[in-house]
Amino acid sequence: MLQVHTYRFNGHSPADPEHERGRKDEKAWARENQDPIKEFEAKYTASGVFTEDELKAARKEILADIKKAVKFADDSQMPPETLAKELEYPDVPDTDYNLKQPPAFADEVNARTISPDQMQNVQDHIAALREKAIAGEISVGDAINLAIHEEMLRDPTTTIHAEDLQAGSSYDIPKLTQQTYGTIRAADEIIDEGHFIGKALGEAMNGYRPIVELMNTNFGIYGMAEISSAGNTYATTGGQFDMPMTIIGAGGTAPNQALGAEHSQPLHAYVMGIPGLKICTASSPDAAYGITKSMIRDNGPCFLFCPVKMMKESKGEVDLDRCMPLNKAALLHEASQAAVDSRNAVTVLTYLHGVKEAQLSIDAIKEEGFDIDLIELRSLKPLDMETIEKSLVRTNKLCILDESTKTGGVGASISARVSEELFDLLDAPVKRLCMDDAPVPYATTMEKAVVKRGDDLVQGVFDLCTKKW
């Protein structure tokens, strides 16, 4: 620790009125007795290193330089209006991450840093996971782990941080990373999200690609300042510094999860407004795998949310070795043409646990004589308005099963944009099935009212189609 004694002549900033008593005299004393430049001049003229005239000439030269610099700044052009938007992301939203080239030094560095035994071990692990993936039996947590290993081998500058990392954290997301890549590249973190997200910021600015796992996304609230800083880095530095940080966390609010108010908050909603972040959700192994790969390759800060109560779900094929786009929603179920023609089809947007809830309620909806275009909003930001529009053209009715609160939630943002940009396609107000503005209670009977489920969706579709609004 370096403690340097110094003094500032002015206030904290120009806005600081400096009420402190005695500071006026103190400042006068400081300018007289503690001015480093005065001391320098006095010392080196006294010892004969410089003459008064030489210093005078030097001062004159500097003043002229400063004047020139001020003129340069004044005469410089204002930046174009479009620059802010251009500097939002280092990689544009529709980047194809499959085209990104791995670093040339990868094999060499891997050979140097991973022992043959370790390499054999991790390759066996990867092979086993890939087999599971092909059989359609890999869980969400394992799919992310597979993506992480593939990317950490592909690019040795990729690092990973998690609490209890060595023990696999909660869902095996960092499994076998420390045993393969070492204790610094795959680091156990202390229970202080503000600290380790901030640390990842530093790593990212210094040439590395950190992955940060949040054991539960609620804990990300502790790192809001750091997440915000990550989002601002590329633009604020004038595009000088990329911010290739990937944050992955299990979160959301499953119906009846009974985790208490402080573990049921919608962090995905809280970070929506932070500029520069790409925010995605994945509720299935294939999406978790493909999105993780892309996010690690993306040169800006990316945040992947997975549903905390579905981490062990393992349905579906995984498209191995393919990176998924970070700006596309997924149409999981299409309403029949008959339903569309009879005006009984609704576009349903959802994400996280809502995906499972919605899928499980399709039969009940059909029984009522309705049908839905079920769209999983894999990307919350940037939002895939194209896919939404394509569906709305068919149905003209929109229902959002939203795992965030009425006030300030994800559904609120989407609803507003749809009203602004696709108003003519709507035959009904946007129906938002979202969490109530109340702390999520522990007891089941009370919680039922807060977190919306498949039953609510069935009712919502019914109401939209029977003009109940």
Partner: protein, 399 residues
């Protein structure tokens, strides 16, 4: 060997003072107990006494309380596995002496805030086995009416401020409690203290250092109490802390390390700490050397990062219940049969409390909106706000 062996204080704390010194009689009503080796201090030229005198009633009371805590936590384990308790459940068994000793040294007016590992402190401060369990079962008989669950117990009349869900978040809040206590103190009188309990896993968090700085600057009666059970979730102290003498963490702030498996040492140590902090000397760091038998929570078996031998060894050589039992017997306050009888009664009592807890009704859905806003913000409208959707769809604002 095991990390806990390295940090264990000497065994001296278990000795009862030589009977010839204090005249322990077989029907004695009080005895003096030796506490040598139970304390280590930092930046202090005073220390707790090396012995404590305790009455038979009090010591047996502590035993009974600790045994009740143990049975309650084991019950929680069983009920959780039966899926009657859901969500999070962080058990305190192994650490009973810490809570019991603190309560013994404190006044009811002293403020207490702790983490999510709070069932036993809730029991001490305003709860009963049935109201604690009722809360865990999510029904209306619970201490927070089913709204909070395992991590959110509170009792305003008992100055118990939780029960907090997020690791380390309770410490600045505790500092605020200390501030209020100082502010409210009458001149010339001792201040009520505030204690913030947290684990070794939380101890390095930034806001704790910040709170300690301000507590020291303003000489707040704040006790920073680290319940060092040697594991931050699944990571041992050697792997998460570059400095494991937590009682020295405050630098200039005085600190004391106490054998947290000895309820007598905890009481005497905390008496000393309360006296120091309540007299306006500023905060103190207290490190309780303790252990938890269960994993971090019910979803953690606790054996993927700990040796089973370590857990077994702690149970057989350092268990706080066995220690207080032995102390009671050695002091002649009760014999083994009487203790067995007490244990039997307590087991029966806890079982009856479980039955009682299960009989409370479940909350109504409308109870969701109680206590969301302060009542006097809407004096004309005690019902739920229009914009909050009611479970009955028809009553919702926009339908």
């Amino acid at each position: 060997m095991f990390s806990i062996a390295r940090t264990t204080l000497s065994n001296a704390g278990r000795r009862v003072v030589n009977p010839s010194m204090t005249g322990i009689r077989s029907m004695s009503s009080e005895a003096t107990f030796d506490l040598t080796g139970s304390f280590k201090t930092h930046n202090l030229d005073i220390a707790p006494n090396n012995e404590i005198t305790m009455s038979k009633e009090e010591l047996i009371g502590h035993f009974k309380l600790m045994y009740t805590m143990r049975r309650m936590e084991i019950t929680c384990d069983n009920e959780y596995k039966s899926r009657n308790i859901r969500g999070f459940c962080h058990l305190y068994d192994g650490q009973e002496a810490v809570a019991t000793g603190i309560q013994a040294a404190f006044e009811p007016e002293d403020s207490w805030i702790t983490s999510y590992r709070c069932h036993c402190i809730a029991l001490l401060r305003g709860g009963s086995v049935s109201t604690v369990l009722a809360e865990l079962f999510g029904n209306t008989g619970g201490m927070t009416k089913g709204k909070g669950g395992s991590m959110h117990f509170y009792s305003k009349p008992d100055n118990f401020f939780g029960g907090q869900g997020i690791v380390g978040a309770q410490v600045p809040v505790g500092t605020g409690l200390a501030f209020a206590n100082k502010y409210n103190a009458k001149p010339g009188e001792k201040m009520n203290v505030a204690i913030g309990c947290y684990g070794d896993g939380a101890a390095n968090q930034g806001q704790i250092w910040e709170s300690a700085n301000m507590a020291s600057l303003w000489k707040l009666p704040m006790i920073f109490c680290i319940e060092n059970n040697h594991y931050g979730m699944g990571t041992s102290i050697d792997r998460h802390s570059s400095h494991t003498d937590y009682y020295k963490m405050g630098n200039h702030i005085p600190g004391i390390r106490i054998d947290g498996m000895n309820v007598l040492a905890v009481k005497e140590g905390m008496r000393f700490v309360k006296d120091y902090c309540g007299s306006g000397n500023g905060p103190m760091y207290v490190e309780m050397m303790t252990y938890r038998y269960h994993g971090h929570s019910m979803s953690d078996p606790g054996t993927t990062y700990r040796n089973r031998e370590e857990i077994a060894m702690t149970r057989s050589t350092r268990d706080p219940l066995e220690f207080v039992k032995k102390t009671v017997i050695d002091a002649g306050f009760a014999d083994a049969d009487e203790i067995k009888q007490m244990e039997k009664e307590i087991r029966k009592f806890v079982q009856s409390e479980v039955v009682k807890a299960k009989e409370f009704p479940l909350p109504e859905p409308e109870a969701l909106f109680d206590y969301v806003f302060a009542k006097d913000l809407t004096p004309e409208n005690q019902e739920s706000q229009k914009h909050i959707r009611m479970p009955d769809y028809a009553k919702s604002f926009w339908s």
